[in-house]
Amino acid sequence: MLVYFIRRLVNVVAMLLVVSAVTFGIFFMVPKLTGSDPALLYVGKIADKAAIEGIRHKMGLDKSIIEQYFLFLKGLFVGRDYSTGVDVTHCSAPCFGYSFKTEQEVWPLLLDRLGVTASLAAGAAVLWLVFGTLTGVVSALKRRTLLDRFTMTTALAGVSLPIYFTGMISIAIFVHQLGWFPNGYVELAKDPVAWFQNLVLPWVTLAFLYAATYARLTRATLLEVLGEDYIRTARAKGLGERTVIGKHAMRSTLTPILTVFGMDLGGLIGGAVLTETTYNFRGLGYEAVAAISASDLPVIMGVTLFAGFFIILANLLVDVLYAVVDPRVRLA
């Protein structure tokens, strides 16, 4: 178990290195090939040649791409000094560099944005997990009834309607027409009540999309599990339907849901791009979009690595949890 865990951790680091190398390659090499100059992006429009050269040297952009990559890695683990020869700026680990646009350090920016995205993802996750699986269970147990058809049609709509559509509609109705909810993000530490109020609408919108998938998955899995021999055995033992469904069938049904949930949550914490953009929340997804449109390479690097980290971490957690849930999975 411990050996397995250590091996997986090494794996995580290796995966992150690959992700960082590929991302670095794409975002730092492509401008070079297309002729646009990262240094130029950093200094802005009004700059003389000397200033550009100075920046190029300071950011290490005059070095080879390989060297730049290792400097970047070094920055991540031990920090990095940016020196023009005269003044030295120290960027402590983990150093993702400075935003081209705002000249701020990327790491504190990421941490700040993470709070927004995590608030959004966590609340929505609770909602969709509870309502999605519950709906799926009810639908499976009442299969082929009107209720089943109604919920599954709603679920189909949920899967099919994009966030920017349901989000826009909900803003139009609940924020502007009815005025039930305010719009915009308020930090939890600042005002917990406002934090909650402002998040309700995005939570519901985001959860609707995911709950629909979970309801369909739960329904299909539970129906399959109910056909298993061991369910018949449980009934043959004279157990009540409540125990048969609630204990025997649900335990098996939750396993695939756990897998999907881990991945979804991991992916979402890396940035709920559409939801954040629709509701104008400055989270990781919003920042990613802004950084891409501004060619803000260090921020893009940071967000991508950050998202990659959460997805890989979620995968690891799912694998470990899987072994806890299913005794047949041996971690070795």
Partner: protein
């Protein structure tokens, strides 16, 4: 004949009368019909038998002959419906003076696992992979003994595992089904079924998923346990060899109906129905030195939606022409062919006996 049973022993089978149950378990005119898009599937169509405590009945037939559906209907497990949807069940099932088909589902649930228990074919899929063997036995015990503590139930589970011959039961009780070998798993399954001392045990193909070497051990175990607990046992199988050693009576099913039934010794000594001959001919025998090739029953089992007219076996019956056309037009009924021995066949008895002694018996 390797069978050691005394042929004069009292039979558990008897003809059902019009009223009141005559056996510990009495099944009367049981019909289980599944409505499907293609039509009505008559899995079981008018089945009668009865069984006494301490006796073993073997129900034999091919896949789709209705033998498993029969057992699930007795257990009341078909009410929940299956993948094919909920069936229409009619007829009567009397267990110890109580009618089950019309009984309250909750009443039947309480009997299930307590008064009647079941062993399934494949113990790997029949046990929940996420719970330990002990947990699954304890759960079955506590479901019918609400007052007992987990500790008491656990002691009982270990006792049962020990009884069915699982070594180190105090350790294996915490093992998961996948950690058991096939034979041990089936033993654990039997322990689970017997934990509440049921008076009716139904074993649905209990050895089919097992190694040949283990099969005999499991059958011995079932026999020993029956002697010990004195319960009524139904063994469902497609293999006459399995019931030859074990059953007091045998009931042969074909196309959802009983086509021959009687005391095991009689049925093996002088089988009456051509289908039973076919089953006997396709059974490998070790007690004969010179054996010809196994003779399979030609053709395929009948469709249960469009059951052949008259005798359902007539398209496969090599002697159908001896019935003078009755085999296609008239449904054969069970007729007495010997003491407590019944067969449903149109072929005149004299012809049947001649064919059996001249053609069939020498090949068996």
């Amino acid at each position: 004949m390797s069978k050691t049973q005394n042929s004069t022993a009292t039979s558990a089978l008897s003809v059902p009368s019009a009223e009141g149950p005559e056996g510990f378990l009495t099944v009367r005119d049981l019909r289980v019909h599944f409505p499907t898009d293609d039509g009505l599937v008559k899995s079981v169509d008018g089945l009668n038998f009865s069984l006494e405590k301490g006796k073993t009945l073997g129900i034999v037939g091919e896949s789709g002959s209705g033998k498993s559906v029969t057992s699930l209907s007795i257990m009341g497990l078909h009410r929940m419906g299956t993948k094919r949807g909920a069936p229409k069940i009619s007829g009567e099932v009397w267990l110890d003076g109580e009618e089950l088909i019309s009984a309250d589902p909750d009443r039947v649930r309480k009997l299930r696992g307590q008064k009647m228990a079941m062993i399934f074919q494949d113990p790997l899929t029949a046990m929940h992979p996420y719970y330990t063997v002990g947990q699954q036995i304890i759960e079955g015990y506590r479901a019918h003994h609400p007052g007992t503590s987990k500790k008491e139930a656990r002691t009982r589970a270990i006792e049962m595992l020990d009884r069915v011959g699982i070594p180190q039961p105090d350790k294996r009780v915490d093992g998961y089904p996948h950690e058991f070998s096939g034979g041990m798993r089936q033993r654990a399954m039997i322990a689970m079924a017997l934990v509440n001392d049921p008076s009716l045990l139904i074993a649905d193909e209990p050895t089919t998923a097992l190694d040949v070497t283990v099969q005999a051990q499991i059958l011995d175990l079932i026999r020993d346990l029956q002697k010990e607990f004195g319960s009524a046992v139904i063994i469902i199988t497609h293999d006459l060899g399995v019931v030859a050693e074990l059953a007091d009576d045998i009931l042969v099913m074909y196309g959802g109906k009983c086509i021959e039934k009687g005391p095991a010794a009689q049925l093996f000594e002088s089988p009456e129905h051509p289908y039973t001959w076919g089953l006997l001919g396709s059974m490998p025998r070790l007690d004969r030195e010179l054996q010809e090739r196994l003779i399979p029953v030609k053709g395929t089992p009948p469709s249960l939606i469009n059951v052949p007219s008259g005798c359902a076996f007539h398209p496969r019956c090599p002697y159908a022409e001896l019935t003078g056309g009755r085999s296609t037009s008239e449904l054969p009924v069970l007729a007495e062919a010997g003491p407590k021995h019944f067969a449903a066949c149109h072929i005149p008895a004299a012809d049947r006996h001649r064919i059996f002694t001249d053609e069939i018996a020498p090949r068996l």
